[in-house]
C-alpha cells in the first residue's frame, strides 16, 4: 500500500473556535491506483491533500490520526524530513499552475533547481531530465521552450509545465488538487489523457481532488465522497456511481444536469453546506437530508460491505439513483 491514512484529523484553532476541516478521514491508495476525492467547497478535500504533504500552516495542525507512507507515519515528522520527501516521493499539482511556477524565473531555472534540490547531478544532466519531463507531458519542442517564462505559456501549457515539474523525480504519489478545473473542456481532456498515461506507464499513484464527478468517473479506480470534513461514502468507482447509498452522494448525482436526460427536472439538495464552525451535532448532512430521522442526531459509524463503505443510518441500498 503506497499510502494509508487512518482517522486523520486536521483542525484549525481559531479565535472563534476549533474548525474541524478534516475530521476522522481514512483511506488508502495502492501502487498505480487513482483515488478520486470528491466534494464541494469547504468539504475538507484540499486540506486532506495538504495534510498528507505536511503543508498545513498554523493555526491549523494535524490533531490526530496517522498518515502511513509505505508503512511509515508522516505525522510529526520535522519540516526537514518532510521537505526531503516532498517533490521527491510525493508531489502536488495545484489548480492554479502559477502557484507552482515562479513568474520571474525561466522554466529552465525552476526545473533545474527542482532536480538539484534532491539529486546531486550536474546542471547539464538536470537540464536533460527537464527536457525529458516536458516531452512526457506533450510540450512541443521542449528543448527550446525551456528558456521561456511562465507568462509565455497558455493556461493549459502552464499546467503541463507544472505536471512536468511534479514528474521530475518520478514520485510514487501525486496529489492533484483540481488541476483541470480552470481549463477549457478540450484542454482538460488533453491534460487528463497525459495524467492517465503517466499513471499507467510509471505505476504512479494518484489522489485526484475534484468537485466534478464526471472527471473523476473517467479517471479514478476508486472514489471517496467528502462532506463537512468526513468521507461519507467510498468504494470502487462503478460501485459508488451505480449504487450510491449515501443520500449526499445521491443528491450530488441528481444535481448534475449532464447526468440526466434533457428536460428531466433537477433535484437539488436543499440548503447549503454548514460552515466548519457551525456544523450540526450528529450527522453533518442531516439538515439537508431527505432520509434524516431522530437517529441522525448521533454520529453514524462507518458501515462496510465488500469494500463499499459509508457513514449513514439510512443507506439507500435498494434504490438506484
Amino acid at each position: 500500500m503506497t499510502l494509508k491514512v487512518e482517522n486523520l484529523c486536521t483542525y484549525f484553532f481559531t479565535r472563534a473556535g476549533v474548525a474541524k476541516a478534516v475530521d476522522g478521514v481514512s483511506f488508502e491508495v495502492g501502487r498505480g491506483e487513482i483515488l478520486g476525492l470528491v466534494g464541494e467547497s469547504g468539504s475538507g478535500k484540499s486540506i486532506t491533500g495538504f495534510s498528507v504533504l505536511g503543508l498545513v500552516d498554523p493555526p491549523g495542525r494535524i490533531a490526530g490520526g496517522r498518515i502511513l507512507f509505505h508503512g511509515e507515519d508522516l505525522v510529526g515528522r520535522s519540516q526537514g524530513e518532510m521537505r526531503s520527501l516532498r517533490g521527491k516521493k510525493i508531489a502536488m499539482i495545484f489548480q492554479d499552475p502559477m502557484m507552482t511556477l515562479n513568474p520571474v524565473l525561466s522554466i529552465e531555472t525552476q526545473m533545474v533547481e527542482t532536480v538539484r534540490a534532491h539529486d546531486r547531478v550536474s546542471k547539464a544532466e538536470a537540464r536533460a531530465r527537464a527536457v525529458e519531463a516536458l516531452g512526457l507531458v506533450g510540450i512541443p519542442s521542449p528543448d527550446e521552450r525551456l528558456a521561456a517564462y511562465p507568462h509565455q505559456f497558455s493556461g493549459g501549457m502552464r499546467q503541463r509545465v507544472a505536471i512536468a515539474m511534479a514528474l521530475l523525480h518520478r514520485p510514487e504519489l501525486i496529489i492533484a488538487d483540481e488541476p483541470t478545473t480552470a481549463l477549457d473542456v478540450t484542454i482538460q481532456s488533453q491534460i487528463l489523457a497525459v495524467i492517465q498515461g503517466l499513471s499507467r506507464d510509471f505505476g504512479m499513484s494518484l489522489i485526484w481532488i475534484s468537485h466534478d464527478l464526471g472527471v473523476v468517473a473517467g479517471l479514478a479506480h476508486r472514489i471517496a465522497v467528502m462532506y463537512a470534513g468526513r468521507i461519507v461514502e467510498t468504494g470502487e468507482t462503478d460501485t459508488v456511481l451505480d449504487n450510491p447509498v449515501h443520500p449526499y452522494t445521491i443528491g450530488l448525482m441528481r444535481s448534475v444536469p449532464a447526468n440526466l436526460e434533457r428536460g428531466e427536472p433537477l433535484t437539488p439538495i436543499p440548503g447549503m453546506a454548514p460552515p466548519p464552525l457551525g456544523r450540526p451535532a450528529g450527522c453533518p448532512f442531516r439538515l439537508r437530508c431527505f432520509a434524516a430521522t431522530a437517529a441522525c442526531k448521533t454520529e453514524p459509524e462507518e458501515t462496510a460491505a465488500d469494500g463499499h463503505r459509508w457513514r449513514c443510518f439510512h443507506p439507500q441500498i435498494a434504490r438506484a439513483a
Partner: protein, 345 residues
Amino acid sequence: MTPLVEATSISRRFTRGLDYAERLARFLGANIEERVVHAVDGVSLTINPGEVVGLVGESGCGKSTLGRIMAGILPQSDGVMNWQGKDMSALPRAEAKAARLASQMIFQDPMSSLNPRKTIRDIIGEAPVAHGMVARRDAAEMVTALMQRVGLDPSYLNRYPHQFSGGQRQRIGIARALAVNPRFIICDESVSALDVSIQAQILNLFMELRQELGLTYLFISHDLGVVKHISDRVAIMYLGRIVESAPADAFFAAPNHPYTIALLSEVPTIKQRKRQFNPVKGEIPSPLHPPSGCHFHPRCPHAFDRCRIERPILREIAAGHVSACHLNEMPGKAASPAIPTTAIA
C-alpha cells in the same frame, strides 16, 4: 412571429492603438501594426419570444462579447441589432430606453457585480426607483416581494452582499435583474462558479421564472451539460464565429460540426468510466491572429485544402439546424461522431 432580438452580421473589434514609442518605431521602418482582436466576427443570431438559447464556447471565443452586444450594453462595430423587429440604433430615445431596460444581464461573479457598500434593499430597489417604476416609499415592499420570489429571506433586507453565500448572492443578482420587469435575460456563466448542489437550485429558479414571467433567455455557458438541460436551441461559438446552431434535441442527437463533435465527446460524465481520453489536438488559437479560412482547421481531423482558404458559411443541413463546415457540401463526407454522442452531456 417577430423575433424578440435579432443580431445580423454582428462584428466587434477591439483595437489597441500604438503608443508614442511604437509610432516612432514604425516611422523609422519597424514592422509594427495596431493590434486588433476580432472578438465577434460576422455573427447572426435570432432569439424568439419565450425561447431559451444556449450559447456555448470555450474561453476567448467571444460569447460574452456577443452577450453584451445583445444586451445592448456594448455597441457593435458592424452589423445590425434589431429589437422586436426594429433597428435598435434607429429607435427614438424613449423606445431605446425601454428596450435597454427590458434586457437585463446576470453575471458570473456576483461579488464583482454587486456594490459591496450597498444594502440589498438599495441594490435591488435602486433601478426601479430611478426609472420611476415604483415610488420610493413603496420600494421596500417591492424588494421584499422580489426577495421572496427568488428564495431569499426578506428579513435580510438591510444586509450587505458579503454577508451572503455565493448561491444567495447569485439570487440577489437575479432579483436585481428582475426588478425592472425585463423580458429578455442574458445569463453570462451565471451558475459556473457555484457548487453543483447550489447550481441545481439556481437552474431550477431560472426555469420557474421563465414559466411564471414568460422570460426569454440567452444562456451563455461553457458547460454543455447545463446548456442541454435548460435550452430550447443551442449555438456553438468558436473564435468569434457561430459554427453550428440547432434545436437542442436535434443538436444533441446529431451534432454536425467537427468542433461540436469534439466538444461533446470530451465532456466528462459519470456514464463514462475509466475511459480512454482521446482529445482534439492543439490549443485555441489567439483571436489576435486567427487562422485563415475555417478557424477550426488547424485542429480539425477532417481539414483539407479548401478549409485553409475559404471561410465556410452556415448552411442549413436539417430543419432549423445550421452548420458551417465544407464537408457538408461533399456528399457522404460530413463529419460524424466516432462514438454516439447521445449518451453524452
